[in-house]
Symmetry: D2
Subunit: 214 residues, 4 copies
């Protein structure tokens, strides 16, 4: 199970969360990554935690002012990237091109999707993983694995029907170790979460709870 902590644009201390994530990953043996703002990637990566970008642009090197160049985030220390997060929806052609741009920079790719149909579509583009997150549950108190277990199972089926090598992650409302175990039982190979750790009084404690059932 992979746990990816998305720091969004939260007013948290990215180094404090990264340090906690690195410690819990080392202590538990569970794979944990942190995805900060692009401007914080270098500082976060220096903690030793696995570091992901929140987005990369569909372009390679060139005249693309204001883009998030895959090679630049990789150079700063990122080893993976989210693409098409529900707060950052992208054109189909650009998701395709962003996956290719990320691969050229040796970044692992996770494309986000709203539902099982979009999960299948994203899987057809050849990313490493697809994360299904029903928008209505993001940031809420109830985990997708209990609120809408069918969506996770259907997303796993939809991805497998297109490309068996693409992992499915799930997100939205995940905040406890029980949620993580439940997601795994539905076929998810990873978890995306944000506020449950980034806004926790004690991020380390929150992460320890999340990995407790693994």
């Amino acid at each position: 199970m992979f746990i990816l902590v998305n720091l969004k644009a939260y007013p948290c201390d990215p180094i404090a969360v990264a340090t906690a994530a690195k410690e819990v990953a080392d202590e538990s043996g569970v794979r944990i990554a942190v995805s900060p703002q692009a401007a914080h990637i270098e500082r976060v990566a220096e903690t030793g935690v696995e570091t992901w970008a929140q987005h990369v642009s569909p372009n390679g090197y060139g005249s693309f002012t204001g883009s998030t160049l895959a090679e630049a985030v990789a150079d700063a220390g990122a080893v993976g990237t989210l693409i098409n997060h529900s707060e950052n929806r992208r054109k189909l052609a650009d998701i395709d091109a962003s996956i290719q741009a990320a691969k050229n920079a040796d970044l692992e790719t996770c494309v986000c999707a709203n539902n099982p149909r979009q999960t299948g579509a994203a899987a057809a583009l050849g990313p490493d993983s697809v994360a299904v997150e029903p928008p209505e549950l993001i940031g809420g108190d109830e985990s997708v694995s209990s609120a809408d277990p069918d969506i996770v199972e259907n997303a796993v089926s939809a991805a497998a029907a297109v490309d068996e090598s693409v992992d499915v992650y799930c997100g939205a409302g995940v905040s406890t170790g029980e949620d993580v175990v439940a997601a795994g039982e539905l076929g998810a190979e990873g978890i995306l979460l944000a506020s449950g750790v980034a806004k926790a009084d004690d991020p380390k404690e929150a992460l320890e709870d999340l990995v407790s059932g693994l």
Copy 2:
């Protein structure tokens, strides 16, 4: 074989093209449709030709000023719609929602895609058809079926691997009856074309040539 004539924002007379298309469809028995500007749908549909919208928005009824409501284009006489044309690229989530919006209004759906990967992705969203059009060939002199036959065959395979019920159309550079026959031999069930008819001195003659080998 289905022939869809996209009038884009060309300065052509939409009624003249529609009338020619209706006549050639009646005389040849080949299915031919015309896709005009939304503001011209009603007038084009009144000629009796099969009429398609160039786009529908991802919303149903509601507070969506400036949207292209599927129910409105259907009410004006459209029976199908393009979605995600290369000149009008859309977000993955919006393509998904536009397909659903079109289905709710009983419109047939054709999603456009740049390449075989995107063709598979589009097919996973459940449209009636996907049109593969390499952007670099659109508006050019060489037909996709001769310039890049692999892309058509690979798109047909990619769609079939995801959903066998989804037809594949091809476009970009198609202008002669030979191009149409070649596309059919590569597995395409339809042709998207634009300037070859819309900018022809005699649209009827151009259409007669296109269907001549069928």
Copy 3:
């Protein structure tokens, strides 16, 4: 005072509203226009009511599939267009180009803006008018002229400081004749409204009330 009834993507009968608007305009002498879906422009214009598009694209004739061509909506009967409605926000460069495209097609232009700063910015682009509509009041029960009178006065000042020839309209929550009079007293030369007429049981009665104080 100009009253522009925006039908958005509402499930109303555009002909019924257009007919009512035409009658009230004729009976009262007040200028009233109706802005339907692009696919309904021709039918609405045939009632004789002044007809506006809800949007035009920043392009002229050409390869722009899915665009809303200014010349096409003008050809269907529109004489004006909204640009940059809060439900259809556009890039600064595209607002500029849409105004030019509309002028080329002899369409009157009204650019929408959220606040006085944006009203000044829109006025600098040379449209015929700017409509200030605080997004938080759109579709609500309280009129901008009573909920936030300063915003109307400040918008009028901001536009005048940039270009005195640009009229300011206001919208958001306007539903009664008193609201219209109040808006006029704050310096507005026109009113944008939608649900107050489009969703009224009796659109004619709603319009008669709106013009009653003029």
Copy 4:
């Protein structure tokens, strides 16, 4: 005169350019800043050169995955930001909100514009400066100050008519000290340039030439 070197997504060494810019600024007394990829801001700022972001998003802290948070780029060392570069055109409402977001993070703001009309519009939103860059000249061999001097003078007039406190910069094709002097004579208070320095064999030499006439 202010010289802003935009590194876009070029495959240059941002530290080498930053170091050269710092040296030339110190030696000449001319204000020079460098605008790298967000992921490189911290490393560039550590050279001591004035560092700018290429873009900031229209949001403050919150659930905005993939955004470029003004507070994050400021925390990494940026003191200013471009907004609405021609390679990254933005909605009018978002330019307005990005300026406010940048101000909240104590970042200086420069909004880019295509022409004098858009320069006036941008000035109405209250940034510190507006940079006029005709898109057709960007990346070319001829300087805007010689190819189209009217556009610079008209942009200066348009901004002054709206808000005298807003400086006007110019860009597009500037590559020599003569171009810089010519731009200043037309009323520009700053220069945006990119390839002339970022792609130079010797960035320091290129910068020394640029400031040679000041």
